[in-house]
C-alpha cells in the first residue's frame, strides 16, 4: 500500500468522478489539461488541426475508460498521455491511408505547405519510435530536462541516459529521414 498523498488524492478524485461528480472531473481535467495538450502538440509535430482532434478524442476516451485508471501505477496526466499516444497513431494511420487513396496528379501543386509537411514527418517519426526512445526524447526536448535530472528521476546513471539519448536521436533521424 502506498503512502504517496498524491495517489490517495487521485483515488478520491477517481471515486468522485466515477460516482458522477462533474465538479471533481472539471477540477481534475483542469489540472491535467495543459501537460496533456503540450504532449499532444509535441507528438503531432505542431500540427494544430491534428492536435485539436487528438486532444478532444483523448479526453473522451479517458472519461469513458476512467474505471481502468489505477493511481498507484501512474499519475493521471501520464495515463491520459498514454491514451493520447494511441489516438495519435490511429489518426496518423488514417491520414496516411487517406493520402494514398487521394494521390495528387504528378503535375498538380502540393496543397500542403513545407511546414505542415515537416510537422507531419516529425509526428510519424515519433510514432515509429519505441516507448523508451520516445520517453527520453520527450524528457529532453519537451520537458527541457537535463541529462542529470532525467538520470536522477529514472534512477539511472547519467552515462546510461546519455547513451539512451544518443540511440533515441539516431532512431528518430532514421525514422524522420525514412519518412522524407
Amino acid at each position: 500500500m502506498t503512502d504517496d498523498p498524491e495517489v490517495w488524492r487521485e483515488r478520491a478524485l477517481r471515486g468522485a468522478v466515477l460516482a458522477g461528480d462533474a465538479a471533481a472531473w472539471s477540477r481534475w481535467l483542469g489540472e491535467a489539461f495543459a501537460p496533456v495538450a503540450d504532449y499532444v502538440r509535441w507528438r503531432c509535430g505542431g500540427l494544430a488541426d491534428l492536435a485539436d482532434d487528438v486532444v478532444q478524442e483523448t479526453w473522451l476516451v479517458a472519461a469513458r475508460r476512467l474505471g481502468s485508471f489505477d493511481p498507484a501505477r501512474a499519475r493521471f496526466a501520464v495515463w491520459v498521455c498514454g491514451i493520447a499516444a494511441n489516438v495519435i497513431r490511429n489518426h496518423l494511420r488514417a491520414r496516411t491511408r487517406h493520402r494514398r487513396r487521394n494521390r495528387p496528379l504528378a503535375d498538380a501543386p502540393e496543397p500542403a505547405t513545407a511546414d505542415a509537411d515537416r510537422s507531419e514527418r516529425v509526428a510519424v517519426a515519433l510514432a515509429r519510435l519505441s516507448d523508451r526512445h520516445e520517453r527520453v526524447l520527450r524528457a529532453k526536448y519537451l520537458d527541457q530536462r537535463s541529462v542529470a535530472e532525467i538520470a536522477a528521476e529514472w534512477g539511472e546513471t547519467e552515462k546510461a541516459v546519455e547513451s539512451l539519448l544518443t540511440r533515441a536521436r539516431q532512431a528518430f533521424r532514421e525514422a524522420y529521414g525514412g519518412e522524407a
Binding site: 458522477g20 489539461f33 519537451l142 536521436r169
Partner: protein
Amino acid sequence: MADDLDALLGPKPAGDDAAVREAVLRRTGRVIRRRPWVRRARLLTAAAGLVAAGGVAGWLAKDVPGPVTEYVVLPVGVALPSSEPAQPAPAEYVTAEQTELQAEQAADRATAAALYREAGDRYLADRNDSPQAARCYRLFLMRAGPDALTVTADDSWLLIALKQDQKEASREKGL
C-alpha cells in the same frame, strides 16, 4: 545545450487552449454525469436478462404435455342403495304384566307355560321384582310338567332355585 533536433523536437507553441478545453469539458462532462445512470441501466438490464433466462430455462425444462384426453360426462341411471340399511321395525315392547295376561288368556298349556316363563324373566330382569317373577315361574312349572324341571343354560338363578325346590318336593312325596 542546443542540438540539431531542437528545431524539430522542441516544445510547440500553444494554440487557443481555452476554447479546446471548454469543448472537451462540455463533451466529457456529459459522459461523466451519465455514467451512474448508465451503470444502473446496465445492472438493471443484466438483472432483467437473468430473470428472462431463468424463465426460458424453466419453460424449456417443463414437461412436454401429452395428448389431451377429453372426458365427456354422460348421465347414467344407477339405482343407489339407501343411505342407511333397512332396519327391522322395532318390536313392540311387551311388559311383564302384558305377557302374564297373554299367558292367562292362552288357549293351550304349552303356550301358557312359555308365556309364564317369559313373564317371570321380565319381572326379574326389567324390574328386579323377584316375588312376581317367582309366582310366574311357579305357574310355568305347573303347566310345563316334570320335563321342565331340567336346568338349562338360559335359566335365571331364581328359576334354577325353584326347579331344585320342586325336584326335592317331588322326591319327598315319592318317598
